[in-house]
């Protein structure tokens, strides 16, 4: 896209950077739309599901019988509200806090693949990146609580920060299990390696991984401050916790961040445990053949084939459907259970989630080391087969461009083949995985 801009609009001289900036901005805006429209959809979904659980209907007026546009109407109302900050507030921090929270939630979508190759930026250490960025959301909350200048908000912010930071530990432990099962931190690869029938999904790999998936979901719910862990927003106790003083657009930014994070952790669970963009039955191959074109058409510099596009669309649809199911489960839990106290939340993290995650981790490792039977065929696949297609072609085009003589980057970068061979050599040398590649 950037080259397109540069060729036709900005020219390739000193203004070429503008092409890249515009391309980056467009990509940013697309990702923001994913988060914002997703939040709009999820708020509507929450109100409907909550209504049904509580034996009532939910929104039914705006936008037809099902109230589709209710959230849009609420958004318009919120934007039109008076913008004020409390007197005792630290104005700068008060104003910037919702943007920090939203930025953290939105940045993590950069590395989240919606299908094979359909990702904003191909980050090789995607798992690590997503975990790192998820931990930044706590800043928005802390700053909001402090900047509001009221004791209640400060209370809520402190509690929430302690909770999020504590639950990062079992969350990380749970996330490591699919990483070592697949041998890569690349989310696209992890998703691709689970293709095939539903038994290939990592959640069915061994009972320990199943337990780990459940623990992950619990810790993820705690990490995004949803009930039963929603002390920060505990309405009955602190009015509204850290966002008591926020109204209008700033408040809606917090909630966009919250629903964005909910979909993010749910999507992460889908990729890591529940098959990513793969459905329960592999239809990609014969569908692509049906429509003409190869399934693995390149999604690189050239236009992809129709088969590739179809498979991509189905993959995205699968991923979104499974992610939405995860979000519905979170909503369901919220409207059923009472709320836990902060000390109960902490003791649950330290006394239950962490030990269970640790035992599950050891168990899963043991299962693999002892080579116990698994219903999937991960053993036979090499992860480099499932590395995303873009990377093979990208690296081919890399090697075609001769790097300049004094290019330090090219000299110091370890070429892919070297990595493959060295890893193979090292695996043979230290006899890891009993000879599995």
């Amino acid at each position: 896209m950037a080259e397109f801009f540069n060729e036709y609009i900005f020219g390739n001289g000193p203004w070429s950077w503008l092409g890249y900036v515009v391309a980056a901005l467009i990509a940013c805006i697309l990702v923001i739309h994913v988060v914002a429209v997703g939040a709009m959809g999820f708020i509507w979904l929450e109100r409907k599901v909550a209504g049904r659980i509580q034996d009532r209907l939910g929104p039914t007026r705006v936008g037809g019988k099902f109230g589709w546009l209710q959230t849009l109407a609420d958004g318009i109302k919120l934007i039109a509200k008076e913008d004020f900050t409390p007197d005792v507030a630290d104005r700068f921090l008060f104003k910037i806090a919702p943007y920090v929270a939203f930025a953290a939630s939105f940045s993590a979508f950069i590395a989240l693949p919606f299908a094979d190759g359909v990702v904003a930026n191909h980050v090789n250490t995607a798992v690590f990146f997503v975990l790192a960025v998820l931990g930044l959301e706590v800043f928005g909350v802390i700053l909001a609580g402090y900047g509001s200048g009221s004791k209640w908000s400060l209370f809520g912010a402190m509690r929430e920060a302690a909770q999020v930071v504590s639950y990062e530990v079992p969350l990380g432990m749970c996330v490591v299990v699919p990483v070592f099962l697949c041998g890569t931190m690349n989310l696209t690869t992890i998703g691709n390696m689970q293709e095939g029938f539903i038994t290939n999904w990592l959640v069915f790999n061994d009972p320990f991984t199943f337990v780990i998936a459940m623990v992950y979901f619990t810790c993820a719910t705690a990490s995004v401050n949803r009930a039963p862990f929603d002390l920060a927003e505990a309405e009955s106790e602190l009015v509204a916790g850290f966002h008591t003083e926020y109204s209008g657009l700033r408040w809606s930014l917090f909630f966009m961040a919250e629903y964005g994070s909910m979909f993010l952790v749910s999507g992460l669970a889908v990729i890591l445990f529940f098959g990513g963009s793969n459905g329960p039955i592999p239809v990609g191959d014969w569908l692509a053949n049906l429509l003409g074109g190869v399934k693995e058409g390149s999604i690189g510099a050239n236009l992809p084939s129709l088969g590739a596009i179809t498979v991509g669309v189905i993959g995205v649809a699968n991923f979104i459907l499974k992610g939405v199911i995860g979000v519905i489960v979170m909503i369901w839990i919220r409207w059923t259970f009472p709320r836990l106290r902060i000390d109960q939340v902490m003791s649950m993290c330290l006394k239950y989630c962490v030990p269970i995650a640790a035992f599950g981790f050891i168990g899963a490792v043991g299962w693999e080391v002892l080579d116990l039977p698994t219903p999937n065929n991960l053993d036979e696949k090499s992860r480099y087969e499932y590395h995303e297609k873009w990377s093979h072609e990208y690296l081919e085009t890399q090697q075609q461009t001769k790097p300049a003589a004094n290019d330090r980057h090219a000299r110091q970068a370890v070429p892919t083949e070297a990595i493959i061979t060295t890893v193979a050599v090292s695996q043979n040398a230290v006899e890891v995985n009993g000879g599995k590649q």
Binding site: A50, Q54, D55, S236, E237, F337, P338, R341
Partner: protein, 412 residues
């Protein structure tokens, strides 16, 4: 620090602590049951002291009573405990009838039991729903209110009002029940019996609910009596006392011929009375008391209310049968300007929230010389302060909710 610390509580051991914060809960607050202001002093998350401030809903009802006749005062009793207005009306009517030494005919007696117990069910439904809401469980609140709506529809058919009925008046009731009312009531009761186990599933046996309420706010029987707590608060601490059994003759004869149990944990067996005669799901006994629950804690007070609902349903079924079998007058109310004889009368009744007493002193006129309402919640509320010392902040709504206070009754 020296070893004499334990003995002399005025010497304090200073650990690393955060500053003490003076926090106000209320009067506008989603969790306090009405306009109640709780001034808390917290040390970080732990409550060091708590002081309830009341009076936001004071409407001078007792003074107004000196300027109205006995029948004119009935709507004012409605607005005291507005969630159990029929029981308030009943208390006032019985007191005036005691002063007048007036008896209500049989049909009126059964009518009063029927209406009073229906309102007890409605009141406990509100208590249960809002308690769940305080703790963050949003759905039981709506289920409870759905059932309560049906009760309120029945009351609207009977007297025209949904909340402040002024139905039971001194002498009987303002009007008889409309035709077919008892049939609809039976229909409601039959449907309601099936729903009671749902509430137990959602709240009573829920692990998170138990974690939030078991062992919190333990009220010893001695302290309960010293503070004057009554009703489910008292029975939840194991004190076997229910005015429908142990009260005055004039009140207990209202329940002559009815079979029901006092819901209180038996100190020897450690069990609650299980004889629900098929009201609560046939063949099923009540949910077990969890191991974490200490007698006198929030969970037991909640449980007592849940079981009292079942006993009320039993009473309603019996009273419907007796009412339908009876003929005669429902009890005409006394004259509007009835002169009250010289003297005084005090009568306490078992309202859903505790023992509600009315005291009337008359000097021979039709307006009483002094009216006094002994509010059950007033005494129940003040036990919050000793109960909440040393608990976490999130437990304060749990304790206040379990005491089930209504500010209209406290402030009058």
């Amino acid at each position: 620090m020296s070893a004499t610390n334990i003995d002399d509580p005025r010497i304090v051991e200073f650990d690393v602590r955060t500053d003490e914060m003076l926090i106000n809960m209320g009067p506008q607050h989603p969790s306090t049951h009405g306009v109640l202001r709780l001034a808390l002093r917290t040390d970080g998350e732990i409550v060091a002291d708590l002081e309830p401030h009341i009076g936001y809903l004071h409407r001078c009802a007792e003074k107004i009573g000196e300027n109205l006749t006995a029948r004119q005062f009935v709507p004012y009793t409605d607005r005291m405990d507005y969630l159990a207005a029929m029981n308030m009306n009943l208390g006032w009517s019985l007191t005036i009838e005691k002063l007048l030494d007036h008896d209500v005919p049989e049909k009126g007696r059964h009518l009063r039991v029927l209406i009073g117990e229906m309102n007890r069910v409605a009141s406990h439904l509100v208590a249960m729903g809002t308690y769940g809401l305080d703790l963050g469980a949003f759905s039981p609140f709506l289920y409870a209110f759905r059932e309560r709506e049906k009760i309120l529809d029945l009351f609207e058919k009977a007297c025209g009002a949904r909340l402040t009925y002024s139905y039971i008046a001194p002498g009987g009731a303002t009007a008889d029940l409309p035709g077919g009312w008892t049939a609809e009531c039976s229909e409601f009761i039959n449907q309601f019996k099936k729903i009671i186990p749902e509430f137990h599933t959602l709240l009573t046996t829920n692990a998170i609910f138990i974690a939030r309420t078991a062992g919190i706010g333990v009220l010893s029987p001695r302290m309960a009596i010293d503070y004057g707590c009554t009703g489910p608060v008292l029975r939840g601490s194991g004190v076997y006392h229910d005015l429908r059994f142990h009260g005055e003759e004039r009140y207990t004869e209202l329940y002559d011929g009815y079979e029901f149990d006092v819901i209180c944990m038996d100190s020897e067996t450690g069990k609650y009375p299980d004889s629900h005669q098929g009201v609560y799901k046939d063949g099923l006994s009540y949910p077990e008391v969890p191991s974490d629950a200490i007698l006198g804690d929030c969970w037991h007070r909640f449980y007592v209310r849940m079981l009292e609902v079942v006993q009320s349903v039993r009473l309603i079924e019996q009273s419907i049968a007796k009412y339908d079998a009876c003929s005669g007058s429902h009890g005409e109310p006394i004259k509007l300007t009835q002169k009250l004889p010289l003297g005084e009368a005090y009568l306490e009744t078992e309202a859903p929230r505790g023992q509600m007493g009315f005291y009337v002193v008359s000097d021979g006129q039709s307006n009483p010389w002094r009216v006094r309402a002994r509010s059950s919640c007033f005494s129940n509320l003040y036990v919050t302060a000793p109960l909440c010392r040393g608990v976490l902040l999130a437990d304060v709504p749990a304790v206040v909710g379990s005491l089930d206070v209504v500010m209209g009754e406290i402030d009058r």
